[in-house]
């Protein structure tokens, strides 16, 4: 673990989380959530949890994003808040 | 083989549910019998386990043969074994009962319905049997996910109710997981018995304090304790009737079981009672839940919705009884877990029959039912008397223990709440009895020939027999309550 890297990644993760819940376009929100998962996965690699990192990359950032995009494309893309 | 029975209790429904869609491909109608077969085997295994525990004390089963703090362990003591029997028998009865109502309500989903039904039971049994904090979370999620799916296929408006349930339920499960994380970071272990050994040195740590708070908050959401019960009435009212008969009695009771486990096995009674004011808070939470549930129940015009608030009030009984923290009240609380599971399943099976016959479940649908469905209504009267607490039925005895416990603890507010809610139950159920009779009294005199034309229109046998069996079980539990208390529950209560 490297302290400055940890701080930067945490900052990115935090920005992505805030952005994902504020953006009004749901598709962008989902893509930002994918980025959030990806930064999360970097954070875990940095914490020596490689197995968790690639599970996160494949399952959460991969399948999760696909599921969400599928759901958003089946429903509405705009959100009021 | 005999030594492997504890694991079979969980694995049988899981394995059968995996094979269920395949059976469904071949023949759709077979899924019902398949589920019955699975649950009967499971019930036999759990009854066997109960007798083994009664004969030889606590069973420790090591999964994969790894020694406890490193591997996962099943610990089956009297409380567990009793819960296993309750869960497996009630799910068996509901499965038998479900046939006609599923055929009517969800004709095209029978195969997947029974698959998810079995998974739901797997989740419940897994929660009850395990001795590992994280394993409990995994099975909690299996149970919850299956529950969400089963509730969402109900009548109109069920998906929205389910969505709220998902949000609340996930918050509950996440709080539980956070609590476990806080325990793990300060003890380094996940095994309940091991954690109990390590914790006493840490009881003054802020981490443990927060962990207790979050564990209990998470479980409170799952068991629908009064202020956070908001997801329950909508979800259980709109679920298919077989599903509300399965989930309403079991989900809340299992969360109550987890609460008792966390308070008295993971933490020692010493912490819960003396160091922190947890039990005092619990009694007051119980009082509020009883009053809130009873008052809300009075305001309902929908039968199933009214039952949901009765369930909320009953949760208050048990939380309060555990909170009184004396042996008698604890006996009452644990006996009430058994009684309330049986009573709730009785109420919801009756609700299911009424829904099956009249296609809705308003209180006004009970009109004239005493004449049309005498057997169903006889069972309903027994269940209602038990909820009110009339002697030969089981509800009386647990209430009696709870009242004695309240007297010993000198907690007058809880006593008053108990009596008030019994009074409210009298009003609730006699109002329904009146609706059941009143039609005949007003119209019977005008059209005299009506009595000959009105034929008995009883529910199908596959629904009627389980309902009557439940009513009989209620009286039997009442008659043999002394045996149950002295042989099982006396060993199940924690040493206070």
């Amino acid at each position: 673990m490297i302290l400055p890297l940890d701080l930067i990644l945490l900052l990115f993760v935090f920005i992505c989380a805030i952005a994902a819940i504020t953006v009004r376009d749901l598709l962008s929100a989902v893509v930002i959530l994918g980025a959030y998962s990806f930064f999360m996965c970097l954070l875990w690699t940095q914490m020596a949890a490689v197995d968790v990192a690639f599970t996160e990359a494949s399952v959460s950032a991969g399948i999760g994003t696909v599921l969400m995009i599928g759901a958003v494309s089946k429903t509405k893309r705009r959100s009021k808040d | 083989m005999i030594a492997q029975i504890p694991i079979l209790i969980v694995v049988i429904p899981l394995l059968f549910s995996v094979l269920c869609p395949l059976i469904g491909l071949w023949r759709k109608g077979l899924c019902y019998s398949w589920a019955i077969l699975a649950l009967s085997l499971c019930a036999v295994a759990s009854i066997d386990t109960l007798f083994a525990v009664m004969g030889g004390g606590t069973i420790h089963y090591r999964l994969g043969g790894w020694a406890p703090p490193f591997g996962i362990e099943y610990v089956i003591d009297h409380l567990n074994a009793m819960m296993l029997v309750i869960v497996s028998l009630i799910s068996l009865i509901v499965a038998i009962y479900s046939r006609r109502s599923v055929e009517q309500e969800l004709p095209e989903k029978i195969v997947y319905f029974y698959t998810v039904f079995l998974l739901q039971v797997t989740g419940f049994l897994g929660i009850v049997i395990t001795g590992d904090l994280f394993n409990l979370y995994v099975f909690l999620e299996i149970g919850s996910l299956a529950g969400y799916a089963l509730i969402a296929i109900g009548e109109d408006g069920a998906p929205l109710a389910t969505f709220r349930y998902i949000v609340m339920g996930t918050i509950g499960a996440c709080f539980y997981l956070l609590g476990v994380g806080y325990i793990y970071i300060s003890t380094g272990s996940l095994n309940m018995a091991d954690v109990q050994q390590i914790l006493p040195q840490l009881y003054h740590s802020k981490v443990i304090l927060t962990a207790v708070a979050f564990l209990l908050a998470g479980i409170a959401i799952k068991m629908a304790l009064f202020p956070v019960h908001v997801w329950l009435p909508d979800a259980y009212t709109k679920a298919p009737s077989a599903v509300s008969a399965l989930i309403a009695p079991l989900m809340t009771k299992i969360s109550l079981y987890v609460m008792i486990r966390v308070l008295f096995t993971v933490f020692q009674p010493h912490l819960s009672i003396e160091l922190l004011p947890i039990t005092d808070i619990m009694v007051w939470a119980g009082v509020i839940a009883i009053l809130g549930g009873a008052v809300m129940a009075l305001a309902q015009t929908d039968f199933k919705r009214m039952l949901c608030y009765v369930v909320v009030a009953e949760v208050g009984y048990i939380v309060g009884g555990v909170g009184l923290a004396n042996t008698v009240a604890m006996k009452g609380a644990i006996l009430h877990i058994l009684n309330d599971a049986v009573m709730t399943v009785g109420l919801f099976t009756v609700a299911g029959i009424v829904t099956y016959k009249t296609k809705s479940h308003n209180l006004s649908d009970f009109e004239d039912l005493f004449r049309k469905m005498p057997f169903t209504m006889a069972a309903f009267v027994v269940v209602a008397l038990s909820i009110i607490g009339v002697p030969p039925t089981c509800g009386f005895f647990s209430k009696w223990y709870l009242i004695q416990g309240a007297l010993i603890a000198k907690h007058w507010a809880f006593l008053a709440a108990l009596l008030f809610s019994s009074l409210v139950s009298v009003i609730l159920f006699f109002r329904i009895f009146e609706i059941g009779y009143v039609f005949r009294a007003s119209n019977g005199t005008q059209t005299h020939g009506d009595e000959h034309t009105a034929i008995i229109n009883e529910a199908p046998l596959s629904m009627l027999i389980p309902t009557i069996a439940i009513a009989i079980a209620m009286i039997l539990i009442g008659l043999y309550n002394q045996a149950i208390v002295s042989n099982i529950i006396a060993f199940a209560i924690p040493k206070l």
Partner: protein, 97 residues
């Protein structure tokens, strides 16, 4: 509603932060989490399962039952999605036509 949730969030967050005050330092090799059970896995994994990756050993062997539960969760989710979205769709489609 927004203000109420904000208050809840701040309250829950404060409770969680209160809990962290007594936690071991981040990355402390002598914290209870790293010294109680986990050294056993690191020491014995190679001997018990002949696998250098300790995570795999714990996942599939020591806590294999959790992994069974995990698979069951995936199966439940799959069945739940079929039950909710797929089952009976054909039949209903016929009904409309």
């Amino acid at each position: 509603m927004k203000i109420l949730s904000l208050i809840t969030v701040v309250f829950v967050g404060a409770a969680l932060i209160y809990g962290t005050l007594d936690m071991p330092k981040w990355g402390d090799p002598h914290s209870p989490a790293s010294t109680h059970v986990s050294p056993y896995y690191l020491r014995h994994s190679l001997h018990d399962a002949a696998t250098p990756n300790v995570v795999t050993t714990v996942l599939a062997d020591y806590r294999g039952y959790d992994t069974l539960g995990e698979t069951a969760v995936v199966f439940t989710a799959g069945m739940a999605c079929i039950l909710l979205l797929r089952a009976g769709r054909k039949r209903r489609g016929k009904g409309h036509v």
